[in-house]
C-alpha cells in the first residue's frame, strides 16, 4: 500500500514542488493511474463549495467607549446583533432581517458591506451600571475599526443536501428558492464532485483543527457542525475564520423571496493524498453522490421523498418525476465552487497554504433528531366539527340557501356521488347568484379550487391556510378525498381563547 506523510507533503508545498489537482480532475486521474499510482502522482486534491449557508455569523468586538457601555443590544445598519456576551462583544447572525428594510437587507448584507469596505451605522443600547454608565451611543464603523471580526458558523459545508420540489397547487417561496406548483421545477444545492465532505466522507483527513479556505481567508474546522449526521451522509462542519481577511468574491449576501436573508459562502478544503483510501475517496464523481428529491408541498417536518437521484442526474437539468420531465437547477453556484477549488489549488502550489494535522477526528456518529415537543398542539381532527352538511352539485341555489340558514356553517362542501370533495359553496356565493338574478344549480356557481386539510394535520397548518388564502372555513377530508368534517376560524379562536 502506497503511503506518504503529511510532513512530506507540506515539505513539497513549501518548496513549490507539490502536485495539486482539483476534486473535479481527480476521478479521471485515479481511473488512469489506479489508487496507488494516484498516491505517487498527486499530493493534494482541492475541493470547494459555494452556496447558501444560513447557519453563519460573526463575533464583533467594538472596543470600549468613553464613558464605557455594556451593550445589551446593538443595531448594525438596523440589523440586530446579540449583545448578551460581556460589554462590547456582539454576535451578528446571517439570517437576521433589518428593522427598516425587512428581509431585503439582513445580517448577511452587513457582513458583505463590511468586507466590501463600506461603513456601517451602529446604534448600541446598554444597561447602566456603576462600571458601565453609558446607556446609549451611535457610531459609524468600518471593518478595520473593530478589534476583532471572527466568523463562527455553527453549520456549514453540508456533505450533500436534499433536492426540493412541490406537489401542491400553489407556488412556494422557500429557502430552496421558488418551487413552482404541481412539480413545476426542482432545486438542489451542493457542489457534488467538489463538495469537501463528499471527498472525505470517513474523515480520514478532515478533523477538528483542520485548516480550511473560508471565503478567501484561512480558517479552521472547529468541530462537527450542528445536526452533523455522518451515519446518513449528511455531515456538517462548524468553522471559524478571520473576517478581516475575507474576500467578497466568496462571501455574498442573498435574500430568498418571502423567506429571508442568507449568506452565500465559499468553503474549500485541501485534502492530502496520504494513502490509497484518500485517493479513492477523492475520486468520487457526481454520479456516486445521491440525494432524495423531497416534496416541500407537504408542510410537515417529515416531507415525503419522491425518488433518489444523483448530482449527475440533477446537473443534467431534467429529472423524471412520476413520468413528467421536470426542469432542475441549482441554488448553489458550481461556477464559484470551481473558483474556490482553483484559487485554493493556486495557493497550495505557491506554498501559501499548508495542510494541518487534526487535533481530533470528527465524530462518526451525530445527532439530527427531531425536536422534543413537550407541549403538543392539537390536530385538526381534535377540534373540527364532524356534523358537516354536504350537498350535491345538482341542487338549486335556493335549497342550498335553506341549508345554510338552518345549519351552523356558512360553507357547504359540494361532493360527488361517492362522497368525494368537488367544490365549496359559501353564503357569499349564494348572495352573489341571487343578486345577479340568476336561479342556478350549485354546480354552476361553486368554487372548484377548494382548500382542504386532513384530520391528522396540526391546526397550525389549517391556520396558515386560512391566513394565506383569506378564507375562514375548510372541509376536512380523508385519504380518499371524502369529506369527514369541517374546520372554521371559530374553532381556532375558541382554542386560542381557552388557552389564555
Amino acid at each position: 500500500m502506497q503511503e506518504k506523510s503529511l510532513s512530506e507533503i507540506n515539505e513539497r508545498i513549501r518548496d513549490g514542488s507539490a502536485r495539486v489537482v482539483t476534486a473535479e480532475e481527480m476521478p479521471d486521474l485515479v481511473d488512469e493511474l489506479g489508487p496507488a499510482g494516484a498516491v505517487r502522482e498527486v499530493d493534494v486534491v482541492t475541493t470547494g463549495t459555494f452556496g447558501a449557508m444560513c447557519s453563519s455569523g460573526v463575533f464583533l468586538n467594538l472596543g470600549h467607549s468613553d464613558p464605557p457601555i455594556k451593550i445589551s443590544r446593538a443595531m448594525l445598519n438596523k440589523v440586530e446583533a446579540y449583545g448578551g456576551i460581556a460589554a462590547v462583544d456582539v454576535f451578528l447572525g446571517a439570517t437576521q432581517p433589518s428593522e427598516d428594510r425587512g428581509i431585503e437587507y439582513g445580517g448577511a448584507h452587513v457582513m458583505e458591506d463590511l468586507i466590501s469596505g463600506k461603513q456601517i451605522e451602529v446604534d448600541a443600547y446598554g444597561a447602566s451600571t456603576d462600571c458601565y454608565p453609558q446607556i446609549e451611543l451611535e457610531t459609524s464603523l468600518r471593518l478595520e475599526d473593530f478589534n476583532e471580526a471572527i466568523m463562527v458558523n455553527p453549520r456549514n459545508a453540508y456533505q450533500r443536501y436534499n433536492a426540493a420540489t412541490n406537489s401542491s397547487d400553489s407556488t412556494m417561496h422557500t429557502y430552496m428558492g421558488t418551487l413552482l406548483p404541481r412539480f413545476g421545477n426542482i432545486h438542489y444545492s451542493g457542489a457534488g464532485v467538489l463538495s469537501p465532505l463528499s471527498n472525505d466522507p470517513n474523515f480520514d483527513y478532515i478533523g477538528i483543527g483542520t485548516r480550511i479556505f473560508l471565503a478567501g481567508a484561512q480558517g479552521y474546522v472547529m468541530g462537527p457542525g450542528t445536526q452533523h449526521n455522518p451515519q446518513n451522509n449528511f455531515s456538517t462542519l462548524m468553522v471559524t475564520g478571520d473576517m478581516k481577511k475575507m474576500n467578497n468574491r466568496f462571501l455574498r449576501a442573498a435574500t430568498f423571496h418571502k423567506y429571508g436573508p442568507s449568506l452565500y459562502l465559499g468553503i474549500g478544503i485541501p485534502i492530502p493524498i496520504l494513502n490509497e483510501k484518500l485517493a479513492r475517496s477523492t475520486a468520487v464523481r457526481d454520479r456516486d453522490i445521491t440525494v432524495p428529491v423531497v416534496d416541500y408541498g407537504i408542510a410537515r417536518r417529515d416531507r415525503p421523498s419522491l425518488k433518489i437521484v444523483s448530482y449527475e442526474d440533477l446537473k443534467s437539468g431534467m429529472i423524471d418525476i412520476n413520468g413528467k420531465e421536470v426542469s432542475a437547477s441549482s441554488l448553489s453556484s458550481f461556477h464559484v465552487a470551481r473558483d474556490v477549488a482553483a484559487t485554493l489549488k493556486e495557493q497550495v502550489e505557491k506554498g501559501e497554504f499548508l495542510l494541518s494535522c487534526a487535533v481530533e477526528p470528527l465524530p462518526r456518529v451525530g445527532s439530527s433528531r427531531p425536536m422534543k415537543q413537550t407541549k403538543e398542539s392539537p390536530n385538526v381532527g381534535d377540534v373540527m366539527s364532524r356534523d358537516v352538511v354536504t350537498v350535491r352539485e345538482d341542487i338549486q341555489v335556493e335549497e342550498a340557501a335553506k341549508l345554510i340558514v338552518g345549519g351552523s356553517f356558512d360553507h357547504l362542501p359540494v361532493i360527488s356521488r361517492d362522497g368525494r370533495l368537488m367544490g365549496i359553496i359559501t353564503a357569499w356565493d349564494i348572495s352573489k347568484a341571487v343578486a345577479g338574478g340568476k336561479s342556478s344549480r350549485i354546480g354552476d356557481i361553486m368554487t372548484r379550487r377548494v382548500y382542504s386539510v386532513k384530520a391528522d394535520e396540526p391546526i397550525e397548518l389549517a391556520a396558515r391556510t386560512f391566513d394565506t388564502h383569506s378564507i375562514s372555513a375548510m372541509p376536512v377530508i380523508d385519504r380518499d378525498n371524502k369529506v369527514i368534517g369541517m374546520i372554521t376560524s371559530n374553532h381556532l379562536s375558541r382554542l386560542f381563547a381557552r388557552r389564555r
Binding site: 421558488t178 426542482i186 435574500t255
Partner: protein, 128 residues
C-alpha cells in the same frame, strides 16, 4: 419578436387582438396577458416579417407598443451563476454554459418570476 402592449382602460373591452390578426393575417401567439380595472398588459410573439405591420395596426387602435428586445437585464457584479433563475423561467430564457448562466433574452415574456427568484437580486425587468 416579442411586443408588449399597454392597453388603456377605455379600449380594454374592444376585441383588439382579434381585429389586428384579421387585418394583418399575422400568426400571433399571446404569451402573457394581465388585465385589471385600470389597464392591461399583453405580451405577444409575432413573426419577424409581420412585426412592423402588427405594431402599426395596434398603434392605430390607440395601444402603446414596446418591442421587447432586452426585457430582462442582469447585474454582472451581483450574479454568482447559481442557477436559481434557470428552472423557474416558463420560457427557458436561462441556461448553463460551462456552469455560467447565460440568457437568451428573446425568449423572455417579462413575467418577473426570475426577478423575485434571484437570491442575489441581480435581475431587473427593463419596463418595470
Amino acid at each position: 419578436m416579442k411586443l408588449m402592449l399597454h392597453v388603456a382602460p377605455g379600449i380594454v373591452r374592444y376585441p383588439l387582438i382579434a381585429s389586428v390578426i384579421l387585418e394583418t393575417n399575422a400568426l400571433v401567439n399571446i404569451e402573457r396577458a394581465s388585465i385589471d380595472a385600470v389597464s392591461g398588459e399583453i405580451v405577444l410573439e409575432v413573426p419577424p416579417d409581420k412585426c412592423q405591420e402588427v405594431k402599426d395596426a395596434f398603434e392605430r387602435r390607440g395601444v402603446r407598443v414596446v418591442p421587447l428586445e432586452i426585457p430582462v437585464i442582469r447585474d454582472e457584479n451581483e450574479c454568482v451563476h447559481c442557477g436559481a433563475c434557470v428552472s423557474i423561467c416558463p420560457t427557458g430564457t436561462f441556461r448553463f454554459e460551462d456552469w455560467r448562466v447565460v440568457a437568451d433574452s428573446g425568449k423572455c415574456i417579462q413575467c418577473g418570476a426570475c426577478v423575485v427568484g434571484c437570491p442575489q437580486r441581480a435581475l431587473k425587468l427593463v419596463l418595470k
